[in-house]
Subunit: 569 residues, 2 copies
C-alpha cells in the first residue's frame, strides 16, 4: 500500500489526488493545504469581484468533504508543511488552527505549492489597501475593501493576465482605473504590436494606461470621509476620497484608493530548496519529464516547476492551469508505478479584455530574437466568419515560422470573435509538427455563422507558404518607415481608404483596379514596396508587378499592421 | 501564353481564376458561367431569405467587372457551354441572351460546374410553389413567393444543410413549417443519436418534423383568397390559405403553401460525360490528386468531382465550399505547370440550427459499420467553458477511433456554444495523424470565458485512452437496454437526479459518495453496468469497483447518451 502525500490542494495537487485514487483504491492519499480552501477556481477570482460570477460558492469546485466521500482522500486544510526530511521520508507539519506540529511519513511525495505573487519591498507596500489576488482570502479582502471603503479610483500594477482581468473587473464596477506597467507593453506573451491592440482597447474603455511606469512607494493618506465630503464652497467639487498616494518610477505621483499588485508570480520553492531538491536556472523546481524531482520519491507539478519549452526544449516557467492539471494527473500515474512522460509546454494562453480576446501559443518574436532562432513572420487580418453574415469581426493573426522548413514557431491572435478557436487550431498544428504548408490544407468547419470557406488559419498558411516558396517577397513595417532612395512605396488602396484609414507620407497611390493600366508610371530601376489595407490586394499587385519585371515586395499585413507597429501609447 | 477556360464561376471556378492570374500575368483566362452571377455566396442564401443578411448585394462577392479590373479575367455570364471537343480542344458555347452559338478554343480547361439539386420526377413537382435553392435566381424566386403570396405554411423536403437552414429561416419569418425527411434522421453526416438532438431542437421550435416520410406528389389547389377568407359563420376560423396539397409516402396528405425541395444535389456531369471523360462509381467526375480528369488538359474541381476520403482513401462526394476553394486554387497552379497534390477530404462540416450547432469531421459510425472498419466510440458531455463562468453550455462530443492504434476516425459534436472550435481542433488532429492519446495532451487556450483547464477535447482523449489502455471497460446504451440475467445496472447518481432527469427501470441506485461503504450490497457474481449522468462519476465508480474485484463496465456518456440513443421522433 503506497502512501502518497500531496502538498498543495489546487489545480495540480487536486488533479493528482483524484487521479491517484482512480488508479489505486488501496493507496493512502493525504492532501495538505496551508490555506483554507482546496480545488478552488483561481482563474475565476476577478470575475467574482466584477460580479459576473455571482456566487462565491461557484468558485469552490471541491471541498475536503467531497474529496473524502468521492475519492477517499484525506484533505487537511490549514495544515502547513514546514520541513521535509528526505532521509526519513517524513514531513513536519504545523496545524495552523491548533498551532501543534506533527510528523507525517510518505512513500511518495508530490509538491504542488504553486507560485506566490511577487511583492517588491517598496515603502508602504504592506498597506491595507494594497492587494494581491491569488486565492479566495485575497479575493475576499478585495471585495471587503470595495464594499467598506467604496473606492472611486483603483490602480492596477502589472499588465499580465490578472492585471488586465482586474482592470476590466474594476471598470465593470464603475471605478476609475490606472494601470501601471513597467515594460513598454502589457501582456508579455505577445509582441508589442499585438499588445498595442490591447493598449488601444484599454484607452477606449477609459483606463489611464501608463506604460514604462512602475510603482516606487505607497503612502497612506487616511482622509476621513467626513472631511473629504465636507466643503463649504458648493461650487467646488468635493475633495477626492483617495487614501493612497503612489510615487511612481517616473517621479510623478498618483492619488488612488486601492492598489492591485499583479506584477507576476514566482515559483514557491522554499520547501523544496530547504530540503535540498535541485532548482533550475529560472528558479523553479527541477523535474524530469516524468515530473520527478532530484529525489526519486518526490514529484512536483504546476506553477512551482520548470518544464521544457515545446519549441526549444529549454527550461521555462509556465504558471498556467492547463499544464498544471495534466502534470498532476501524470505525476499520480507515475507515483503509482507508471512511466508517463510530459510532453513539453507551448504556453498556449488567452486573455479576455472587455469585448476583445488576445491569445498566443509557442514562442513570440521577442523570444525568438533573444534566443537567436531564425524566423519569418506574416500577418493576416481576416473576418472571424463569412463577412456577409452578421457579427463578423476581423481577427489579426501573427504567424511566426521557420524560414528553413516552415515549422510553426508561434502564433498570436487578437479580435472580438473566434480568437480562441484560431489559436487552438494553431496550437494543435504546432504540437503535431505541422508546417505552414499544412495550414493551407486544413479542413475546418465552415458555415457563414462560424467561419469562411478559406479560414483565417488557411489564409495565414497560404501567405506563409507563398513567402517560403519564394512566390512572394514581403517587407515589414520597419522597411516602410526606413524607405531609401532606391525604393518607392506604392499604395494600391482606393483613395477613399487613405482618407479614412490614413496614409503613408510620400507613397504613390495607384488603386489596384487601375494598376495594370498604369505600369508605365512606376520606376523600373527602384524597388517597389507595395501595400494595401491588410495585405491581400498587395499580394495581387505583387504578383502582377513582379511578373512585369518590377523588383517588388508586399507589406505583410498591410497598412493595418503598419498602424499597429507604429502606434505609440 | 496559356489559354485557360473555366466553366463555372462560383467557389472552385472563381478561386481558380483569381489564382491563375496571380500565378501568370500572361495567361489568357476566360470564365464562362451560364447563370447571371459569378462568385456569389451560395452558403448565405437561406440567411438572406430569413432577413438576417439584410443586403442582397452582400451575397455578390465579385462581379464580372471586378474580375476584369482586379484579375484581368474575362467573365462571360449567361454563356453556356454546350459541348466540348477534346480533339480540337474547342468549346461550343451558346450566348443565352443572343442565342448565338460560337466556338472558343482552350489550352487548359477547368470544369467547375457544381452540382444540381435533385428533383425527383414526382407528379406536380414543377409547380410554381415548389422551389429549390442553389443560386441567386432561386433565392429571388423564394423571396418573391414569400412577398407576393404571403404563405403561412411551408414544407421543407429534406433535412440536410440547406433543408435545416431553410426550416430555421422560414420559422424566423413566422411561417409554420413541416419538415419531411425520408431517412430516420436529419443531417446525414452525423449519427442518429446525435441527430436526435436536432430533432428535439426542431420540435422545441415548433417544427412539424416527419421522419421516414417522403414527398409523393404535389397538387396545386388554387383557392382564391377571397373565397378562403370569406365565411359567413364568424365563429369558425377562416379557411386555410393553402395552395398545395402534398401526398406523402405514408399515404397521408399535407396542406401547405410553399415547398422547398432540399433532398440533396447530384454532380453536374453532363458536359463531362458527353465528351467522354471518365466518371467515378459515385457519379462524379473522376480526377487524380492533381485535379486532372482522364483528359490531361482538362481539370475539374468542386461539387462535380469525386475525391478521396481522408480515412479510407475511397472515392467520396463532398459538395462543400472549403474543399472546392482549395481544389480551385490547386488546379490553377497545376494548369500552369505545377504538380501540387490535393490531400483528401475529411468532410468537416457544421450546421447552425436555431441556437445550436452540430458539426462533424471524418467518418461517422454508420459509414464505419457499412465499410466494416473496426472502431470504438466514446461520448463526453462537457461544459463549453468553465462552468462557473456565465454562458457555459454542455457540448456533446462523440469520438470514433481505431481500437488498434487509437487513430481518430471521426468526431461529431453538438451544443449551443463552442462546437465549431472542438471539431476544428479534432479535424486538425485527425489530419495530422494524431491519436486519441495525443488529444489528452493538447494545450488549448484556457481562461474561464473560453474553455476549461481540461477541455472537452482533452477529456474525450483521456476517456478514449482509458478505454484503449484497458484502464476502463465501457458499455454502450444498447447493453443497458439488453441487460441479461448475469448483469446488474448500477446507477451512481444522486436520487434527486433520477427524479429530474429520468431513471432506468430495474437499476440499483447507490450514489457515488456512498458506494465505497456499500460494496457489500453488490453481487460479486454478476457484471455491473455502471452509469451516472455523463460518464464521469461512472468512471470513478468503475475504478473503485474493478479494484475491489467486481466485474464492471461504465456506460460511456452516461444517462444523457442513453436518452439520446433511445429518443424516438
Amino acid at each position: 500500500m503506497t502512501k502518497i502525500v500531496i502538498i498543495g490542494g489546487v489545480a495540480g495537487g487536486a488533479s493528482a489526488a483524484a487521479r491517484a485514487r482512480r488508479v489505486s483504491e488501496t493507496a493512502e492519499i493525504i492532501m495538505l493545504e496551508r490555506g483554507e480552501f482546496v480545488s478552488f477556481a483561481n482563474c475565476g477570482l476577478p470575475y467574482h469581484i466584477s460580479g459576473e460570477i455571482e456566487s462565491r460558492d461557484a468558485l469552490l469546485l471541491q471541498t475536503p468533504e467531497s474529496f473524502k466521500s468521492r475519492f477517499n482522500v484525506e484533505v487537511r486544510v490549514l495544515n502547513e508543511v514546514i520541513a521535509i526530511d528526505r532521509q526519513a521520508k517524513q514531513l513536519s507539519i504545523r496545524n495552523l488552527v491548533t498551532h501543534e506540529t506533527y510528523i507525517e511519513s510518505y512513500d511518495k511525495l508530490l509538491l504542488s505549492p504553486g507560485a506566490s505573487p511577487i511583492k517588491p519591498p517598496l515603502p508602504g507596500i504592506d498597506s491595507h489597501f494594497v492587494h494581491s489576488l491569488r486565492n479566495i482570502p485575497d479575493m475576499d479582502k478585495v471585495l471587503a475593501t470595495l464594499m467598506l471603503h467604496k473606492p472611486k479610483h483603483a490602480t492596477v500594477v502589472g499588465g499580465g493576465f490578472i492585471g488586465l482581468e482586474m482592470v476590466e473587473a474594476l471598470r465593470h464596477l464603475g471605478l476609475e482605473v490606472s494601470l501601471l506597467e513597467l515594460a513598454d507593453q502589457v501582456m508579455g506573451p505577445v509582441d508589442l504590436e499585438m499588445a498595442n491592440m490591447l493598449h488601444q482597447k484599454l484607452i477606449d474603455n477609459g483606463v489611464d494606461l501608463r506604460l514604462k511606469t512602475g510603482l516606487a512607494a505607497v503612502t497612506e493618506c487616511p482622509i476621513p470621509l467626513a472631511e473629504a465630503d465636507n466643503t463649504d464652497d458648493y461650487d467646488k467639487p468635493v475633495s477626492p476620497h483617495f487614501h493612497l498616494q503612489l510615487a511612481l518610477s517616473d517621479n510623478s505621483t498618483l492619488a488612488t484608493d486601492l492598489v492591485i499588485l499583479a506584477i507576476g508570480v514566482k515559483p514557491e520553492t522554499s520547501l523544496a530548496s530547504a530540503c535540498g531538491l535541485e532548482l533550475g536556472k529560472l528558479g523553479g523546481i527541477r523535474v524530469d519529464d516524468e515530473m520527478r524531482t532530484s529525489d526519486a520519491d518526490i514529484y512536483a507539478v504546476g506553477d512551482a516547476i520548470e518544464t521544457a519549452d515545446f519549441v526549444t526544449g529549454n527550461p521555462t516557467l509556465i504558471p498556467l492551469a492547463g499544464p498544471a492539471n495534466r502534470q498532476g494527473r501524470l505525476a499520480a500515474d507515475n507515483m503509482l508505478g507508471a512511466n508517463i512522460k510530459y510532453r513539453a509546454t507551448q504556453g498556449t494562453a488567452i486573455c479576455k479584455l472587455f469585448d476583445m480576446a488576445i491569445a498566443s501559443t509557442g514562442l513570440n518574436e521577442k523570444t525568438l530574437l533573444k534566443q537567436q532562432i531564425p524566423f519569418e513572420k506574416i500577418y493576416v487580418h481576416t473576418a472571424s466568419h463569412a463577412s456577409y453574415y452578421p457579427g463578423a469581426h476581423p481577427i489579426t493573426l501573427k504567424l511566426l515560422f521557420s524560414p528553413d522548413n516552415g515549422a510553426i514557431l508561434g502564433a498570436q491572435a487578437a479580435g472580438l470573435d473566434g480568437v480562441d478557436k484560431r489559436i487552438d487550431v494553431l496550437a494543435v498544428a504546432q504540437r503535431a509538427g505541422m508546417t505552414v504548408y499544412d495550414l493551407a490544407d486544413l479542413e475546418l468547419t465552415y458555415a457563414p455563422p462560424f467561419g469562411s470557406a478559406r479560414d483565417v488559419v488557411n489564409q495565414a498558411g497560404m501567405v506563409a507558404a507563398n513567402v517560403l516558396l519564394g512566390d512572394e517577397q514581403i517587407c515589414h513595417s520597419h522597411d516602410i518607415s526606413a524607405v531609401n532612395a532606391g525604393q518607392v512605396v506604392v499604395d494600391v488602396r482606393n483613395p477613399g481608404e487613405l482618407t479614412t484609414a490614413g496614409a503613408i507620407d510620400g507613397a504613390m497611390n495607384i488603386p489596384l483596379p487601375q494598376l495594370r493600366d498604369r505600369l508605365n508610371e512606376l520606376p523600373k530601376d527602384k524597388e517597389l514596396l507595395v501595400l494595401c489595407q491588410v495585405g491581400l490586394r498587395g499580394h495581387v499587385a505583387y504578383c502582377m508587378l513582379s511578373q512585369h519585371g518590377f523588383k517588388v515586395r508586399n507589406l505583410t499585413g498591410g497598412y493595418k499592421t503598419f498602424q499597429m507597429v507604429n502606434a505609440r501609447f
